[in-house]
C-alpha cells in the first residue's frame, strides 16, 4: 500500500487495511473495506465523503469507541509504535486521556445535561495529577496553590538544587489548578466570561458556545492527535463560520496533528494540508489539498467537485452524481463506485482497485490510472 507521505515528516498515526463489520439483524454491514492512510506529525488531514461513507466510523475505530455489534476483521492502527487494535482497554483509555482527543458533531447530545461545564472540563485536567504537579512547578505556582494546600499542611518537597520536585499536589490544590487551567482553555477557544460558564449547565448555553466547550475539552489534553468529527454540521451557518475561524487560529497555535472529518469540501480547502476522499468504506483518493482541487483524479472526487459551486467558475447547472450510496450489506463487486461511475469498464466490476500513485504526492484507487487501462 503506497502513501503520499512527504519523506521528511514522521508518521504519527498509520492505518493499514482496516476492515470493519457491523452485525445487524438484516445482515453484515461491511462498513470499512480496507482503509489505509497516514497522518504525519503536525499536519491537518481532511477526511471527506458523503454521509454514511464511513468517516465517523473510522474515527471511532481509531479511538476504540465502537458500539458492541462492531468488529474489526483485519488491519492495524499504529500510534507511537503500538497497534491500537491490539492493546488492552486500560492502555487505550490512557491514550484517550493523553494522546488523542475527539470532538463530536452535536454539542447538544454530547454534553452531559446534569453536570456543569466546569465539572465536565475540570475532570479532564484531574485525570492526570502528575501533569498538574508538573505544570504547577513549571509556572512556579506554589504560592497561589499553597493557600489551597494550607488546609492539608503539606509542603512541596525540594530536591538538592532547590528546584521543586514534581511531587503530588493535594486534592484541593489539584482542583484549584484544574479550575485555573479550565478558565485558560476557555479563553483559548474565545469564550467570554469563562468563570460564569464553568458554573453553567449545557442547556443554558447556545450551540456555538457548547461546541467551543467541547473543543476546549479536547485542547485541555494537548493531544498529539485532534479528531474533529463533523463539528460544524449541527450548527447555524454563521456559527459554523465562527468555529472555523477558531480552528484556523488554533491551527497556528497548536503543534499536534488534526484529523478533520467533514462532508464539506469548503472546510477542507480552508483548513487542511492533505485530503483523503472516502466512498462506501474505501479511501479512493489521497492528495495535498491544492493538488486535489486542481487535479481531481477519481471520478467520484470529480463528481463532488462538480457538485459544489465555485467562485471562479461560471455558474452552470450543479451536477449530481447519479445513483445513490450502495447498500453495504450487499456492496457492489469490485470497485464499490462502479455502478455510478461514468467511466466504468469490465475490470471495475471484477477487481477492487488499490491505491496507486497518480501524480506527485497523489494516490488514487481507480483502474483508470496505472496499468489495466480500458
Amino acid at each position: 500500500m503506497t502513501e503520499s507521505a512527504p519523506d521528511k515528516s514522521e508518521a504519527l498515526l498509520q492505518l493499514s487495511n482496516v476492515r470493519l463489520n457491523f452485525h445487524t439483524y438484516a445482515g453484515e454491514v461491511k462498513a470499512l473495506d480496507g482503509v489505509s492512510f497516514m497522518v504525519t506529525k503536525g499536519e491537518a488531514l481532511g477526511l471527506v465523503g458523503e454521509s454514511g461513507c464511513g468517516k465517523s466510523v473510522t474515527a471511532l475505530t481509531i479511538v476504540g469507541l465502537l458500539p458492541e455489534n462492531a468488529s474489526v476483521t483485519e488491519g492495524k492502527i499504529i500510534l507511537a509504535g503500538k497497534n491500537l487494535l491490539e492493546i488492552s482497554s486500560e492502555e487505550m483509555r490512557k491514550i484517550r486521556a493523553n494522546n488523542i482527543a475527539m470532538v463530536f458533531q452535536d454539542p447538544t447530545t454530547f454534553l452531559n445535561p446534569v453536570l456543569t461545564l466546569g465539572e465536565q472540563l475540570e475532570e479532564v485536567f484531574l485525570l492526570n495529577p502528575d501533569e498538574l504537579a508538573r505544570i504547577a512547578a513549571e509556572r512556579k505556582m506554589e504560592d497561589t496553590l499553597v493557600e489551597a494546600r494550607s488546609d492539608k499542611g503539606t509542603q512541596p518537597k525540594e530536591n538538592a538544587e532547590g528546584a521543586p520536585s514534581t511531587a503530588r499536589l493535594s486534592k484541593s490544590a489539584q482542583k484549584k489548578l484544574a479550575r485555573i487551567l479550565s478558565i485558560e482553555v476557555l479563553k483559548q477557544v474565545q469564550l467570554p466570561d469563562p468563570e460564569r460558564i464553568l458554573k453553567e449547565y449545557p442547556h443554558e448555553l447556545s450551540g456555538g458556545m457548547r461546541q467551543r466547550c467541547m473543543i476546549a475539552m479536547a485542547l485541555a489534553r494537548n493531544p498529539d492527535l485532534f479528531i474533529a468529527d463533523e463539528i460544524t454540521t449541527a450548527l447555524d451557518v454563521t456559527i459554523q463560520a465562527q468555529i472555523l475561524e477558531l480552528l484556523r487560529q488554533l491551527k497556528k497555535e497548536l503543534t499536534g496533528s488534526t484529523l478533520l472529518i467533514t462532508h464539506d469540501l469548503g472546510v477542507v480547502a480552508e483548513l487542511c494540508d492533505r485530503v483523503a476522499v472516502m466512498y462506501a468504506g474505501n479511501i479512493v483518493e489521497l492528495a495535498d489539498v491544492k493538488e486535489l482541487f486542481a487535479n481531481p483524479l477519481h471520478p467520484y472526487t470529480q463528481g463532488l467537485m462538480r457538485a459544489i459551486p465555485m467562485i471562479d467558475r461560471p455558474l452552470e447547472r450543479l451536477e449530481t452524481i447519479p445513483g445513490s450510496v450502495p447498500d453495504l450489506i450487499y456492496p457492489p463487486s469490485g470497485c464499490r463506485f462502479h455502478p455510478r461511475c461514468p467511466f466504468a469498464f469490465e475490470k471495475c466490476k471484477l477487481e477492487k482497485p488499490e491505491l496507486i500513485h497518480g501524480g506527485k504526492a497523489h494516490t488514487v484507487a481507480c483502474h483508470l490510472y496505472g496499468e489495466g487501462k480500458a
Binding site: L115, E123, L127
Partner: protein
C-alpha cells in the same frame, strides 16, 4: 402547587360521594351511644338534609377540624383511632422502602452493566417474580418457613406477629417519642427492645417490599441502559475517563431521574400492600384497621383510611418532585 390542593379536593369529593351519597350519611356520625331523639339534632348539625354543595362544604370543614366521623368497630372517632396506628404503618412502610431501594438500585445498576449475562438474568427473574407474587401469600409463606419450620428445626426463628414481644415489652417498657419503635428504643438506649423490634420488622417489611423491589430493579436497569447509549457517554469515554467515573459520575445521575419518579409510584404500591401485609402479620397499623373495618361494615373507618392514604401519597409525590428538580438542572420551579 395548585395541583396538590386540587387533587386533595378531588379526593375529598370522591370520599364524600362514596360515604355520603352512596351510603347512609348518618352512619358516619352516629356512635353506639347516640340516642334516637338525638338524631334530628345531628342531622341539623351536619346539615345532612341540605343540598349537596352545602353538605360537601360542611363535610370538608369538619374534616379540617378533625371530625372524620365515628368508627363503630373501634368505639373511637375515626381520626383518633387511626392516628394511634399511624406510626406502626409508617415504620413498616419506611422499612420496606429502605430495603427495596438499598437492594433494588444496585441490583438494577449491576443488571444493566452486565446486560444479558448471568447476573442480569438472575435479577430479571427475581424482578419478574416480585411483580407477580401476591404479597399476602408471600407473607404467609414467610411465616410458615421462618417462623414455624425454623422453630421445628430448632433454628432461631423470626417472630411472625405484632411489632414486639409483649412480655419482653413489659420488662423493658418503651417510651414513646416518635412512635417509630426502632428510633425510640435506640434513642432511649433500650437495646434489648431494639433487637426485638427489628426482628419483628424483618418478615413483614420484606414481604411488603418484595413487589416494589421488582419495579425498582426494572426501571433502574432500563434507565441505566438507556443512559449508557447516550452520546455524552461516548464523549466521556473519549476523554479517557475510567469506566468507573463514566458510570458513577456521568451515567448514574441521569439514570436516577426516572427511577426517582417510579419510586414515588412505588410508595403507592406500598400503601396498597399495607392492608394485606398488616393483616397477615397482625401488625397493628392503619391497614389492618381498615381490613377489620371491612368485616364489620365500618364504612367511616374505611373512608378515613382512604383519605389518609391519599394524603401520604400526595406528600410522597411532592417529595419526589423536589428530588427530581434537584437531580435534573433542566427543571426549574
Amino acid at each position: 402547587m395548585f395541583l396538590l390542593v386540587f387533587v386533595l379536593v378531588g379526593v375529598t369529593i370522591i370520599v364524600f360521594f362514596l360515604s355520603q351519597v352512596l351510603l347512609d350519611p348518618l352512619a358516619l356520625y352516629i356512635t353506639e351511644r347516640t340516642r334516637e331523639d338525638a338524631i334530628p339534632a345531628l342531622i341539623a348539625y351536619y346539615h345532612l338534609n341540605d343540598p349537596w354543595p352545602i353538605r360537601y362544604a360542611v363535610y370538608v370543614w369538619n374534616l379540617i377540624r378533625g371530625d372524620w366521623g365515628y368508627s363503630r368497630s373501634l368505639s373511637q372517632p375515626v381520626l383518633q383511632g387511626m392516628a394511634g396506628r399511624f406510626p406502626a404503618t409508617m415504620e413498616l412502610a419506611i422499612a420496606a422502602i429502605i430495603w427495596t431501594l438499598v437492594a433494588g438500585i444496585p441490583a438494577g445498576i449491576i443488571s444493566a452493566l452486565k446486560n444479558n449475562k448471568l447476573p442480569d438474568h438472575i435479577s430479571r427473574i427475581v424482578a419478574l417474580t416480585g411483580v407477580s407474587t401476591p404479597v399476602f401469600w408471600l407473607g404467609l409463606l414467610l411465616q410458615l418457613v421462618f417462623f414455624y419450620y425454623f422453630h421445628l428445626l430448632g433454628l432461631p426463628n423470626l417472630p411472625s406477629n405484632g411489632r414486639y414481644d409483649t412480655t419482653l415489652g413489659l420488662e423493658h417498657p418503651v417510651t414513646q417519642i416518635t412512635g417509630l419503635m426502632v428510633v425510640d428504643t435506640v434513642v432511649t438506649g433500650n437495646f434489648i427492645m431494639t433487637e426485638d423490634v427489628v426482628a419483628h420488622l424483618i418478615l413483614p417489611s420484606f414481604a411488603l417490599g418484595f413487589i416494589s423491589l421488582g419495579v425498582i430493579m426494572r426501571i433502574m436497569r432500563s434507565s441505566m441502559l438507556e443512559v449508557l447509549r447516550q452520546d455524552y457517554i461516548i464523549l466521556a469515554r473519549s476523554k479517557g475517563l475510567t469506566e468507573r467515573v463514566v458510570i458513577y459520575r456521568h451515567a448514574l445521575k441521569n439514570a436516577m431521574i426516572p427511577t426517582v419518579t417510579v419510586a414515588g409510584l412505588a410508595v403507592a404500591g406500598l400503601l396498597g400492600g399495607a392492608p394485606l401485609t398488616e393483616t397477615v402479620f397482625a401488625w397493628p397499623g392503619m391497614g389492618r384497621l381498615a381490613v377489620n373495618a371491612i368485616g364489620r361494615n365500618d364504612a367511616p373507618l374505611i373512608m378515613g383510611f382512604t383519605l389518609i392514604a391519599a394524603l401520604i401519597l400526595v406528600f410522597a409525590n411532592l417529595t419526589v418532585d423536589i428530588l427530581y428538580a434537584y437531580l435534573d438542572p433542566r427543571i426549574k420551579y
